[in-house]
Symmetry: D2
Subunit: 408 residues, 4 copies
């Protein structure tokens, strides 16, 4: 076991940190203003300052850093993890600047792994070049979609086409008109075995019958800087059969494959969020005086800072180990750890943000600091990709089985 | 000791519950639409449906229920508490419909208790009639204002006038143009004894030099249904000396006097919020099925429901006892209990809301349920009127003193 | 609603507090020494100092204060609650001095309510006079006995006798040779309806076939000052049929009836334990200096004290309300509240004790303060009479039903 | 970064696990019986079965595994950590069998690092051979000894001797008559600079004036299997000046140096304790049935198991990283991490033990499972070597300084 950071990753981190300091952080306000001045409330991807940052990222070799192999920057999960953490310190801008923003990352992975040459040509290539965006349409409003068998959207074969009907919500990014393609999960065969009923299909956002119903709010945010979270309705949407990803019945397996890297990314960025929160908390309490002493000398505040550091160090190591497992034994071998970080990350990071907010008083919940928007985003991770309770249940089942085997 | 509910309060509660069922809850959507259609984003008090509800409240004798004595409905704190809880189930509309919304309630109390006949005539009377609104300007952006000695706003005597200079924020209701009067806390004598430096003065919102800088957001919400939370700047604002409330140096004492009832009201309404959350949680989990069973049969969900009920019952009793103490031994005699409920209420209610949200999945954080807006509001209570940490510190000091006395 | 304490209870409390100060607390060390010097390690009831204290309790009219009606002191549950809290401040001695110690209290209630005149004459009378002790044998080692249908002990009719076979553990008080009578729960008819299978029967501790296997430890304590916690085996123990309590199939109902008052007593005494812990914590931190300041001025310690007070006040009110409900609507009507305090009390009191211990450093866990023994005792309440998890599950079920009814 | 376990450590772990399975675990009951049958209640080190296990450990090359360098087994901290975890599964016997039990380990380190050749010859050599035991006398009953300046024991130079006066408690192991040597911390120069006042001196346990006052209890345990926790009084105890360790004023520095490895060992063993608890919890809930289903299928229990696993994985990684830091940058460079694991470990392990106990019902607190004794031991870690609150305060101060430096 060797905790020495990877030298190549360290170089990239240094370059990214320089870019953050010199380019990204100073651009945050301009991004907000340009987005507000934009013609389309949701079209964050067209904002000029973002194009400049993307050029900078390309110059530094940070473009598509999330994607292993030739199509991406050739980094391991462990190497990328160190970068993803840094981007978490400016969640609105940094991941997008590196073309490493969810849900595009997961969608590109799906296309890279399961797409046909034609699908790659049509959708993956422009995504990798940052010309278009995408969305992933799985969650449904009317059922507990953590249980994949509940999926009610239908994908019905009809001649050379498939016809999609159903309703989805919380489709992040889909309010953005640039999200040209939607990966839609639905059932092709409700009578098949439990995990073979579902398929995924590529639906152009401008296909006939695709209705963008509304944007969902997260607490009071519409998240337009991320393309919002759309409610979508599919009314007899017809797409060519060649739009199916992999094959009929592969939907569940693709969803599972997509989750691993997605969670690592979310978790590492969230750790960056927590580091940002600790920095702000320390800065605030060092300058704020009440009852004759800086807040930084009050015992309860010190307790928060210490707990924050102690919890975050533990969490980071588990996320890094999970990345390493994915690199060495694959996503399947890392299944339990992937669940574990999905459970552990929001719990820890939300706690730290809550304390940082409290240290800021009213300002902490306001638009003056990034803490309020951050806690709203982190809060969603407790049910995104299935509520924590489902994952805990599953992780416990695996532990019980493992222990029973050990008892013989 | 007798836990039988007060019969008069019970009658009023029954009437209010009927009004909620038949008038308030059905009006919530109309209120939102009319507010959105309003000329002024912040002028919630002009919305037609509200006028109708106010008439209903007057008819039922629920108007100004918060105010004891002749000027109000003549209820004790304990009696009003039962009503306040019910209004918490529709926080946007019900308190306003009864003319029992903060910060007007506290401001009316201040005027009723400390105002001159002229001040009462000019400001209290139209407030009691619901013709104008008001705001209370204490918190400042640049200092930890939980420590009253930090207040930086100056109120300087100049001939027959006072001249106000300073900056305030989180001034709830002050974005509303109908908030005709501001009660402003500032220092008249920075050289006086610690708690005699501050005074309060009445400043018309349209006085020259009053600048409404912007509205503060709470987790993405601008709270326009409550008149927002303004940042205000006072640039050489000149008002007649007769606008001073009570006398020079009375500011701290008035602020203390204002806090007691205000907290009881907040706490009781928050308990209503929690009851609403428990109801929604129970309804949701009874109808939602995952992995073959309704959520209501899953152990962890049951644990949340039980914990919610057990914690809320304890909290309610402490709030009611505090109301009773205020009625029997006065605000000063109830000082420790008032601090205790200020600490206990957001902790318990935020916990319950968090679980209710989790039981709703993504919907829980969205605009589709009142839970997200509720948790944002409740979260502010952890630092409104000073952060919990300050109150815990003070409560502990009192306990240590009491215990030392008991040891002799 | 009226929170004024009951004047009669207040008088008795004053008398009890005087007795605590002048007699009980000064006797604690002597009790320990006499118990150590005793011939029988478990025979706490024979210790001389206890006899003196009992005489004092009788003189003051505090004897059998727990028992309502003529047989006892004629107090309501609410009145006795105030006394029980005071006895919690010296758990080893005070309840016993008043003949108000578990499990005798519950057993006397069972006999008073369900016993035949002969059973009362033989067992209740000497118990009320404090001449003998008793035990209640329900929990079994081999099954989850929170589920009454799991009870494996058999009570088989055989002519004019019943024959008892089975194994019990955690039978508090039964190591004491003075525990002359055991109330044993077993099954008379395993084929009956779920809650009609069980019966209770009186078994003299010296009956043939009763084996006292060993004393169970609680975190290293053998609790000999309470008669320990015995593991018992019943080998064909034959008792006359007239020893049956109430009738065949009444066991479950008797157990339920026994629980209500028992829990109130436990909870009120536990609140007294918490008050003792707060007192000790305050005393300790006021005198202990580290890094130049008394611990009482350190923020985290203040936070503990404030939280302790805030939580305890809420808990006490719920326990008192439950006592009031039992007095006014009966044990059945107070069912939910009885469950609620069973859940809430150990959670709160254990938390307070943990903090008081931490404030004492190593001493807190040692024999030098009553905190360590107290936390061991309180910890057992989390599964005594069924684990909290079972009670939460049941309480949630009732809440879900209530909410469904309210929705109509 | 590479999470592959060290192959040499893995081999030793495999050997140790075999030894645990075949020798240590089967010997636990015999150890207890032989200890009970022993002439001296405290002389655990003389028990026959232990000698056999020690031979086994020597045969396997596991003897003195804790000690790096030639004098020990030549393992790094990281390598030993893996072994220490395994010994945590049988805390009473396994560390002692490997001659790796506290406080001897820390004392041997002190002697190895700071001892003169004569001191090593006299005390270190027999300790390394397992012929004698030792104790470390730092904590004092009358002061908060987490603040080293509070130490009240005096070590006064008098001719060729030092004379020791003072009172110590919680001196683990010192009730054992085989603890031939005490390392005593006291003040040689109260007027020196804050951290140069203290010195350490070797005091034979049988020196004139050493009084063994009594054994301290931890909850209800006297921990005789670890030589208890003695209260000691030093009445004009005279030892030759050559018994001083290092030099006058070096006491604080030696104490600091001693802490690092000691904490790693404690933490790794505690992780083994937690693993043992998870195993027992899983076994219990798989076999126990209530209300028609095994406990292992109940949601709350699953939640406990999942949380236990998720928390423990994070903790272990931080402890291992700390061991690696000590190996690569030294104890001083690992200062913050050493504090972090000291804070994190008892919090996590106590939580897991509490849940495992609850899953066992009454049995969990009793002598029938190792859980009760384990939680008592783990609880002490929250104030051993200074309460967590002191360490959090210090860790936060370092974080604040680091953040201030980063802000520039």
């Amino acid at each position: 076991m060797d905790f020495t950071p990877d030298p190549h990753a360290q170089e990239l981190v240094a370059s990214l940190e320089e870019m953050m300091r010199e380019h990204v952080l100073p651009a945050q306000q301009r991004f907000e203003e340009e987005l507000d001045a934009s013609d389309d409330h949701w079209a964050w991807s067209r904002v000029p300052v973002l194009q400049e940052l993307r050029d900078e990222a390309r110059r530094r070799g940070l473009w598509n850093a999330f994607l292993p192999g030739e199509e991406g920057a050739g980094l391991t999960n462990l190497q990328y993890a160190a970068l993803a953490e840094v981007t978490g310190r400016a969640l609105d801008l940094a991941p997008a600047a590196l073309n490493c923003a969810a849900p595009d990352t997961g969608n590109m992975e799906v296309l890279a792994q399961f797409g046909t040459p034609e699908q790659k040509e049509q959708w993956l290539a422009p995504l990798l070049r940052g010309e278009i965006r995408s969305a992933f349409a799985m969650t449904e409003p009317d059922v507990a979609s953590s249980d994949a068998t509940n999926i009610a959207t239908s994908i019905r074969r009809d001649g050379d086409d498939y016809v999609v009907n159903g309703r989805k919500w919380w489709i992040t990014g889909a309010m953005n008109p640039d999200a040209k393609v939607l990966i839609v999960m639905g059932k092709t065969d409700p009578s098949a075995e439990r995990h073979r009923q579902q398929s995924m299909i590529l639906v152009p956002r401008d296909a006939e019958g695709v209705e963008v119903v509304r944007g969902m709010h997260v607490l009071g945010y519409d998240d337009h800087a991320h393309g919002g979270h759309a409610e979508l309705a599919f009314h007899d949407v017809r797409v060519p059969a060649s739009n199916l990803v992999a094959g009929e019945g592969e939907g569940f397996a693709i969803a599972q494959a997509r989750l691993g890297p997605g969670r690592i990314h979310h978790c590492m960025r969230s750790i960056g969020v927590a580091e940002m929160a600790i920095s702000l908390m320390c800065e605030r309490v060092s300058s704020r005086v009440a009852f004759g002493r800086p807040l930084s000398e009050q015992g309860v505040i010190r307790d928060w800072i210490a707990e924050s550091r102690v919890r975050l160090e533990q969490l980071r190591l588990l996320v890094l180990k999970t990345a390493w497992l994915m690199d060495t034994v694959g996503n399947k071998g890392a299944h339990t750890e992937i669940q574990a970080i999905k459970i552990a990350t929001p719990a820890t990071v939300e706690w730290i943000l809550d304390k940082a907010i409290q240290a800021h008083g009213g300002g902490g919940l306001s638009q003056d600091f990034p803490l309020a928007a951050a806690i709203a985003g982190i809060r969603t991770l407790r049910f995104a990709d299935g509520p924590d309770e489902v994952h805990k249940n599953s992780l416990a089942k695996a532990e019980l089985k493992r222990q029973a085997a050990a008892r013989g």
